[in-house]
Amino acid sequence: MSRVWIVKSILLLVIIAMMAVAGTQLYKHRHFKMPVVAGLGVTKVAKLSDYIEGLKGTVADTNVFFLEGKEEGGKILIIANTHANEPAAILSALIFVENAVVDKGTLIIIPEFNNSAGRNTRPGDGYPLYFKIPTDWGSKKFRMGNRDASPLDQWPDPDVYVHYPEKQLLSFLDVRNTNRTWPGRPKGPLMEQVTYGAMQIMRQEKVDIAVDIHGAETMFPVTNCIVAPTKSMRIATMTSLTVKSRERFENHVEPSPSGFRGLSHREIGDYSDALPFLLEAPLPFLDQPTGPKTVDLLLDGKDPFLLSLSKKKKLFVPYDETGWPMEKRVGQHCSVVLEIVRQYSRKFPDKAIKLRNVPRYADVVQNGVGHYYHDPNKANKADVYFN
């Protein structure tokens, strides 16, 4: 064998080894199945494709959990992982799925709304592929996803995303962002079909309240808040005031801009009878001027650069050495959802929703998020669902 071919063979082997190591990790991440234990309150589990045929057999299809009360009442839809890199959303949604019991009305939960984004990652930003939440029985492993759906599932991106039906010009990336593709259409790009499926749930099930759970940078003004359009504003304001006075945490109200299209808090209100609310909790991991994007930063939100910026009053939320731990963020989401339900039930007593067995802010901060998850290995196999 000539010297040239020896060099070529060595180079080829090195590259194949690199590709195999990286490729295996990415393949496993994309195909990792996370178990969800359906709690006592879950009465049925449907698929999003039950509401829009086009999603059947695609990665974008996802589980929809129904918790129906014995007594008729209002209906609330909770959507999590619209952005799969904002994990307080799925952690909060799973607390409801695994624990909530509904006495009156119906609770519908989609824990992994953008299922494709949950199988995507951002290696260029050094995102971890997984994170673990400590529980009473060990730890529960979650996929860390990305903001947008994977290009493997929806491609190509346009030069400019023309929003349907408002025709507003949005960034090309937003065609894969399920918080820009509302209200969607049945024959549109895959992510428009995902949001259309959720709109169909709201229309067919006659949903009264829609809550979309998110996380946002501490340097972004729309953080630690409830975003609501005019029709939801009264309930959002009462919720904000009540959690501040009773539970001692800030969660101000931001109006949904009528000229910015495609967002859940705008289009759900405009294209259905439901009252939309978008919840934001601070997520230091998403801020740009931080140290490495580690699992610790994701879970405890502690970062020396943000601390320095906080001292210079550059952040939009209070920030100190304790960071923004996941317990605080998830606890806030749980309390705000429960308070929205309570305020809605007071305003519309004939459509009241009665939920129990869901922890509030102080409970989650004290006990930790993992305390509320059940061991899938000890649960009845029929109650374990994979996404």
């Binding site: 070529k8 180079l11 590259i15 690199m18 590709m19 493997l152």
Partner: protein, 51 residues
């Protein structure tokens, strides 16, 4: 899978094939050999639907 996505995979395979051909033909520059292989990585991962 929409037609445009299938065409995209065909383009990826074509480019990967051209790079491999250039890699095979290269006789002198080790740098170029390495570059051909590095550029092939994302194309191969895409064809395999890994990333």
């Amino acid at each position: 899978m929409p037609l445009i996505m299938i065409l995209y995979y065909v383009i990826c395979a074509y480019l990967a094939g051209m790079l491999l051909w250039n890699f095979i033909r290269e006789k002198k520059s080790v740098n170029d050999m390495l570059l051909y292989l590095l550029v092939m990585i994302p194309l191969i991962l895409r064809i395999l639907r890994v990333k």
